[in-house]
């Protein structure tokens, strides 16, 4: 009895000490209570724009609306004209390059390549009026398009190829009287359609996000917190936080999950430990392009085929273009598992006119910096967009062709389908020498996936990464990860030792059985 008591006491002590050891984690719950107090308070604006006399008079031009805005918000244009949305350019420090001014002027992408020479059309997504191929006055505050961000009537639309001006048919008075804080629809009208159509570029930002369900995005879900873009992309003086690493290079002014959720939001310490090296998005965005497909590859080299002298298009069953004479062939993907890369918040870019040597490997249009050994790096999910796009095989530079023109004969590829001519004109506009030869090169572009956060039930499970086969992180080979990695020498040694042991026991045991039988027989004789 005494012994049993002692044994039980010992087991008790062992379990108690184990539990005490394990419960001392650094659990810092999300600032949920605070947020819950904050968000039910309905925001009520301090002014009703319907009552302003200046917004009653009939507007004939959108610039008049801007003047009306600035008559009360007298200094706001200064903030706006500092912003990236206005300048499409900013000074950035890039490791190895120093301080460079980068933006849509000198950075290309592997979708429609670039805006230079195509401004008339691209300006549909600029927060200004009157950006044409001839240029734009960045100092004229009347050209600020206040409405594209602040229209709350959801009726404001910029026209196609109108240099950033709105559709002429709009009721600018009604729209100007509706203004308020930007809604998802204000941001989405450009950011969901980058690349010339829904979800072409990002993969995690597309039209289903106007009114997303909980399955699509747990934060913006209409039946849930119904967060607007600017709830996370906090904004001070028209400077909106959050980076697009297709263009940005520096680790500053970022928008992060930790703003609300802290760095140790899990109850299980083992999960919080992961946050040192793994970004929240990596586990909490298991798939992207959940509702509509996103473009995964773009082959410019097939562009220019005509039927009966006319450009044509081919669509897949879901209505996605798979071929356009003006743009080439496309591939699309839906419900995609992201790729994963190390990222420390800084990026590098291919800048227009830059010469590259290796034309056999895919050229990285943007490079997300980071590695396992870098203290600032975390694993993030990305969409990799692959393309085959025009380059100069002699001078080894990417080509910025002139794509858009409103009529034939100006050399624009989308009208005349002449690579050589459109490249010549395009390269002249950006002042980069052109040999006259047009080749095609593989390129890659990296788009961090930050939206379409899933509910916790759908979070990536441990063994989707910690597994020998088909690990989500199979491509990140610069570190040892339990369950994925092993040393074949140790595996072979270990298994051999065990097999030899078993074999030895089998032999020894067999001889024992055999000899004892023999002895029994002898004895019975």
């Amino acid at each position: 009895m005494k012994k049993i008591f002692i044994a039980l006491a010992l087991i008790g002590i062992i379990i108690l000490s184990a539990v005490t050891f394990l419960t001392t984690g650094s659990y810092e719950p999300t600032r949920l209570m605070k947020l819950k107090e904050e968000y039910p308070q309905k925001y009520s604006p301090s002014a009703d724009h319907k009552k302003f006399a200046v917004l009653q008079k009939k507007f004939s031009r959108p610039q008049e609306v801007t003047e009306a805005c600035l008559s009360c918000h007298t200094e706001t244009h200064k903030e706006v004209m500092q912003s990236n949305h206005w300048n499409w350019e900013r000074e950035e420090y890039i490791n190895g390059r120093g301080i460079v001014s980068i933006g849509k002027k000198n950075v290309v992408n592997n979708f429609c390549i670039g805006i230079e020479g195509n401004e008339q059309s691209c300006a549909k997504c600029h927060i200004g009026y009157g950006m044409t191929n001839q240029g734009f006055s960045y100092t004229d505050s009347k050209n600020i398009d206040c409405l594209v961000c602040h229209d709350n009537s959801e009726t404001y639309v910029k026209g196609n190829e109108l240099a950033g001006l709105p559709e002429p048919s709009l009721d600018l008075n009604l729209i100007s009287q509706s203004v308020g804080k930007p809604l998802r629809s204000n941001c989405g009208v450009c950011h969901f359609f980058g690349g010339g159509g829904n979800n072409i570029k990002h993969g995690d930002l597309e039209k289903s996000m106007f009114e997303p369900s909980r399955d699509v995005d747990v934060h913006m879900a209409v039946e849930g917190a119904n967060l607007q873009c600017i709830d996370c992309h906090t904004t001070e003086k028209h400077n909106i936080s959050g980076k697009m690493y297709s263009l940005s290079s520096m680790n500053r002014n970022r928008s992060s999950c930790e703003q609300c959720h802290t760095e140790n939001p899990h109850e299980a310490g083992i999960l919080n430990e992961h946050t040192v090296k793994v970004a929240c998005q990596t586990c909490h965005i298991p798939t992207y392009a959940k509702v509509n497909a996103t473009k995964t590859s773009w082959d410019w080299s097939t562009a220019g085929k005509l039927r009966n002298g006319e450009p044509y298009e081919e669509d897949d069953a879901d209505g996605n273009h798979i071929y356009l004479s003006i743009k080439g062939s496309f591939e699309w993907g839906k419900n995609l598992k992201p790729d994963y890369v190390w990222f420390n918040g800084t990026a590098d870019h291919y800048l227009l006119g830059e010469v590259f040597d290796d034309t056999t490997r895919a050229l990285k249009i943007n490079t997300l910096n980071g590695s396992y050994n870098d203290l600032d790096s975390k694993i993030i999910p990305v969409k990799i967009h692959r393309a085959v796009q025009p380059f100069d095989p002699i001078l080894k530079v990417l080509i910025q062709p002139k794509l858009f023109a409103d009529k034939k004969g100006e050399g624009a590829f989308w009208q005349d389908f002449d690579w050589r001519r459109s490249s010549e004109i395009g390269m002249k506009e950006i002042n980069v020498p052109f040999s006259g030869e047009v080749g095609f090169i593989k390129t890659e572009m990296y788009w961090p996936i930050n939206h379409m956060v899933s509910t916790k039930e759908l979070t990536v499970q441990c063994n989707e990464c910690h597994t020998r086969e088909k690990s989500r992180l199979a491509n990140l080979t610069d570190f040892y990860m339990p369950a994925r990695d092993y040393s074949s020498i140790i595996e072979i040694t270990g298994v051999s030792i065990i097999l030899l042991t078993v074999f030895g026991i089998f032999i020894h045991g067999s001889i024992r059985i055999f000899s004892s039988r023999k002895m029994k027989k002898e004895r019975s004789k």
């Binding site: 062992i14 394990l22 203290l375 597994t467 339990p482």
Partner: protein, 229 residues
Amino acid sequence: MKKQVYIYKAFERFWHWTQAILILFLAATGFEIHGSIKFFGYQNAVEYHNIAAYSFIVLIIFAIFWHFTTGEWKQYLPTLKNIKAQIDFYLAGIFRNAPHPTKRTVLSKLNPLQRLVYLGLKILVIPVMVISGLLYMFYRYPQKDGGIEVLNINSIEPIALLHTLGAFLLIAFLITHLYLITTGTTITSNLKAMITGFEETEVEGKVQVQEQEKKQGQEEKILADDLLS
């Protein structure tokens, strides 16, 4: 005649069986963490493995205390005496039903080979597993702020590989151990002894046994005194 000898004390049996369960459980959860099997679910495997590891460490602390306060640690002092006889027994004598070359007694419950192997486990394999295991749990990625710098390790790889190798060796030990417990007087006599504490031994005469015990006890005392002085 038969004699019941009380070999394994209560704590010793408790320690042995708890250790056995813990090692089996650590092996199962450990090889799941290693990616060899799937059973508990990965996160559970990690958490259970950690709990079992802490329990094991507590048990080891108790065991060390017990070994030193009772003097049982002397059981593991290696001896070359009879080692050849013991090897000969396993390689030949056992097949002829020859008697064990060493008699198990309270004061000398381990044969020379056991002494060597268990000492190896106690001072090499188990400490390597405990230390690499603790490092595995408490190592930190180098971080800009905070953390114990000593524990900042650039790669978990060498620790993980060492821990894995140790696990393979323990499994090999476990298999051998399970087989060798069948080599007692009868197939189950060793197992019974570890459960009840008593081993039934066939002896020729009481006096002889007592003398042998006495002799062995004296030898150990001399050896121990030598070591302590």
